[in-house]
Subunit: 226 residues, 2 copies
Amino acid sequence: MKKYSLFQNKRISDYTVRRLSMYLRTLNFLEQSGVETVSSEEIAKIEGFTSAQVRKDLSYFGSFGRRGLGYNVTALRKRISIILGLNRKWNISLIGAVPLNGIGGALLNYEEFKKKRLTITKIFDKDPKIVGTKIKGITVRHIDELERKIDPRKEPIAILTVPPQDVQSIINRLDKIGVKGVLYFASRTISIPKKMIVRNEDTVMELEALTYHIANKTKRQLKTLK
Amino acid sequence: MKKYSLFQNKRISDYTVRRLSMYLRTLNFLEQSGVETVSSEEIAKIEGFTSAQVRKDLSYFGSFGRRGLGYNVTALRKRISIILGLNRKWNISLIGAVPLNGIGGALLNYEEFKKKRLTITKIFDKDPKIVGTKIKGITVRHIDELERKIDPRKEPIAILTVPPQDVQSIINRLDKIGVKGVLYFASRTISIPKKMIVRNEDTVMELEALTYHIANKTKRQLKTLK
């Protein structure tokens, strides 16, 4: 197998990274289903991209496949895992809103994390009823203590499930101690610190993408009916 | 105020729709904070876009602002709400995985939905322990019944919190009865029916965007240190 350098990746766009994640989950699925080789055309068909796009994405990282033979599913899955940094364990701090009927609780129960070696190892909240108790074997600490309890070399990633109004101040605090990546769930635009990578999952925004398309399609259909 | 047509929107990209959602949540925040007018420069700064981008996005829908005066926050918020289809109530079917420690439970408790008039009105599961019981006043129906119980004119949107292996078959069933939009949470690429708009929220994928950037940045820093 050809050697390749991760430093080539520097200029890869977020969209490419997202597509790599999509390839990875499809390759996981194919591998579990016992499929041994796959062509760029097949991957393209599954993902709804062009095969030229797939070949271009994979070519960033050296030559994976062999013309006519396709890609070895396991080898390609492993290679993309390494590119995405998944060849190591990632400890994650979960901050805020741990009541088990909320998103924090759902994340603590999320099976997919285990498969990817993404592990919630610290939990913070400010509810005195749960601070000091154990959830999934982890003692819940008060949010005031996060600077003392998070070691960014050990826990480089934090997931924030705090209310919208608290996201910015907690991200600023995490930036100060050197936490490198944050995923937050609140429906709020924030100012992103320079050294930090921040992602946002906003279910309302995803639903608005649906309501936008449905509302406008409906209008168009009504117009046609007149 | 100038009249505008929703039919202009036909060729708006998904990225523009996403930015409109971001403007909307920022405008909501500004309105709640008592801010009355805002310039495209201020919106751009908050969102991290260029002001040219903001002006371009908003110009799709006719002229909102007045040079030098900026935009009226409430008027702009209302206009974008209408564009996104949020001037009406949206009923949503929640399908699968309703145990309250999962994502389905979190969605049922999600306050942001109420503000946007997004309402979960039907719940389906296949666990005999909860089928027939009431959750938040809604009787849980068996997934086998969804064709009979969902009226796509009343519930045009469905949220799927079923396991990955069930997503495709349920999307196909929803497509057959005419459900127009689906948001699913499983980490799985699916084949999207032609008439349907489908969105996916995949927390693992968001975390992989972090691990990718952190893993590669770390390598680069190490190289510099050598």
